[in-house]
Amino acid sequence: MPDCQRLTTDGLQALLDALRARGYRVIGPTLHDQAIVYDDIHTLDDLPAGWTDEQEAGHYRLTRRRDAALFGYAVGPHSWKRFLHPPVQRLWRARHEDDEIIVVAEPAEATRVALLGVRACELHAIAIQDRVLLGGDYRDGHYQARRRDNFIVAVNCAEAGGTCFCASMDTGPQAQHGFDLVLTELVGDGEHRFLVEAGTPEGREVLAELPASPASDAEIAAAEALLAATAASMGREMAAGDVRELLLANLEHPRWDDVASRCLTCGNCTMVCPTCFCTSEADSSDLTGTETSRSRHWDSCFTMDFSYLHGGSVRASGRARYRQWMTHKLATWHDQFGTSGCVGCGRCITWCPVGIDITEEVRAIRETRDGAPT
């Protein structure tokens, strides 16, 4: 960790102030409805100090920590797509005047947004959505505008959640790139401090304004040990190397029927997934018919309407819809975008109301595929 600086909690407040002074709206983890969700942050008091989460398949509970760590939990039900690729986006409005129709595109919203507390898996998720929404012939102008002016403060994970498997997906727990600043929170020895490194020129500029001091070798060693311990204590794992080939060779595996018998096709997994990007569009008009508009909203491949064609759904069974979601995420995403669509954050496992575990489903197919030892 070269050029590693240390900040106190006051120093972290100074970071918030510096970002706000630069015109950034700062969004970060807050406590709301017994979950840690992303919202506006004004002072350190807005952060969930001293809280952690218990996560298991279909299970999420907040509990108190013994210390006052500000980032002592794993990811919650929100992801940053809520702000970068929001759930509802108006696309245009049309005014009907006499015989004329005037269509006005919704202007792209370009706000300066700082994201505070972005985990390594989430940096990867943002990079994946960048490829999906900005990497092709056609770009999503709204996403592009929202991504243009971001300041990203990443946080290295000091502990793994019960459903985390970023170590398997090679997406964490340490932030490698895609941030302006990265923090590692140290709460031991009765002293609360943050190691901080810059990843961009703007990050260095901001860091230079903060009351930071050089980190000691002991602090750097402690941070490295912490990250190694996190990597070694993942709640889940997935053998990801050949999962694309595994799933594409097993599109008719009986396990799809098995998982379909448990899946409620509620779509929770797609809503909490930080890379799921699918949207649908809805047109509406006012009562007089003088103004019409189109909005797009998050959609899920678990709905019947998603694949609607000529009076019916192409994927009518739960089996087909679960298979579409999982094979897209883990297999065809590679064909489409050159990466996996899964970052190992574990949200789909935690927030599945019946506790379906994507790592377990992959394992079950692997162990019972054609030619597997029985």
Partner: protein
């Protein structure tokens, strides 16, 4: 190997332009063809589609069915099946609608230079093939033998009847029309469209097939073409899936690794592997 524009056309791809209906013709029960005044001179490729908006109702993908050489109008053949297509099919000359496009890949017209080409259409699938036929006939000397085989439900559902009759009188193209059932005054063919393939005596090494129709029809047509000796790389299909954005951003039209709107709708069969036979993919 499907033809594809070099890059996205300029402008906001998600906002429709307002265009006007020039002419409306009834082609078959519940099926009309709209000529829409072109708002720009952008050429489209045979096989591409536009997104058409009935304001306040919604938007649907409709393939271009007119002559690609005619830059004054955009022609769309629409069957009224849902609320949006029904609203579009009710439009009269002078009415306004929204248009985005053209989108997607086209038939591999250039790759077919010097080859025999057989177009096989099922039902409304004749609409996206008609621009290919206009192009083939406009550049007749570039191609070998040309044939169009067209299967539909019954004689009263036959699209573009007068044009078909005119093409049937030409000596430089073979036209075969067959229906699933007919009243007794029908003297044409009755039976599945693939029955007309053997009569063409295709040269499998030198023939490209462009196929468009319902998926079941395309599956049995592929089987018949392969029986006639054509390879997967010689068979091109126009696929259909639910499309919302038409530019590869909304995720709806996925078919395995393919985004039908962006990679298709025209795709070479060798790209699809065995996926076409897979249930509920």
């Amino acid at each position: 190997m499907a033809a594809r524009p070099d890059r996205a056309p300029p402008g906001d791809p998600l906002t429709p332009r307002v265009v006007r209906v020039l002419k409306r013709r009834r082609d078959a029960p519940r099926t009309v063809t709209l000529d829409i005044a072109a708002d720009d001179a952008t050429a489209f490729q045979p096989g591409q589609f536009n997104m058409l908006t009935a304001f306040g109702v919604g938007e649907v993908p409709i393939s271009l069915s007119g002559d690609p050489a005619d830059t004054n109008r955009r022609v769309h053949t629409i069957r009224a099946v849902g609320p949006v297509s029904s609203a579009l099919a009710r439009l009269a000359p002078g009415d306004a609608l929204g248009l985005r496009g053209p989108f997607g890949s086209g038939w591999p017209m250039a790759a077919a230079h010097g080859h025999d080409v057989v177009l096989i259409a099922g039902g409304l699938g004749l609409a996206p093939l008609r621009p290919a036929l206009y192009r083939l006939l406009a550049e007749r000397q570039r191609y070998g033998t040309i044939a169009l085989l067209y299967g539909t439900r019954s004689p009263d559902e036959i699209l573009f009847r007068r044009e078909l009759a005119a093409w049937q009188r030409r000596h430089d193209i073979r036209i075969g029309v067959t229906v699933d059932h007919a009243p007794s005054d029908w003297t044409g063919h009755v039976g599945v469209v693939t029955r007309l393939i053997p009569g063409l005596a295709l040269d499998p090494a030198n023939t490209l097939a462009f196929v468009c129709g319902p998926e079941v029809m395309m599956r049995f047509t592929i089987a018949a073409l392969k029986e006639a000796g054509l390879g997967d790389a010689a068979i091109h299909l126009s696929l259909e899936r639910n499309m919302k954005c038409a530019v590869g951003l909304c995720g709806h039209c996925q078919f395995g690794p393919v985004f039908v709107c962006r990679d298709g709708p025209v795709l070479c069969h060798d790209r699809l592997g065995g996926l076409l036979g897979l249930k509920e993919l």
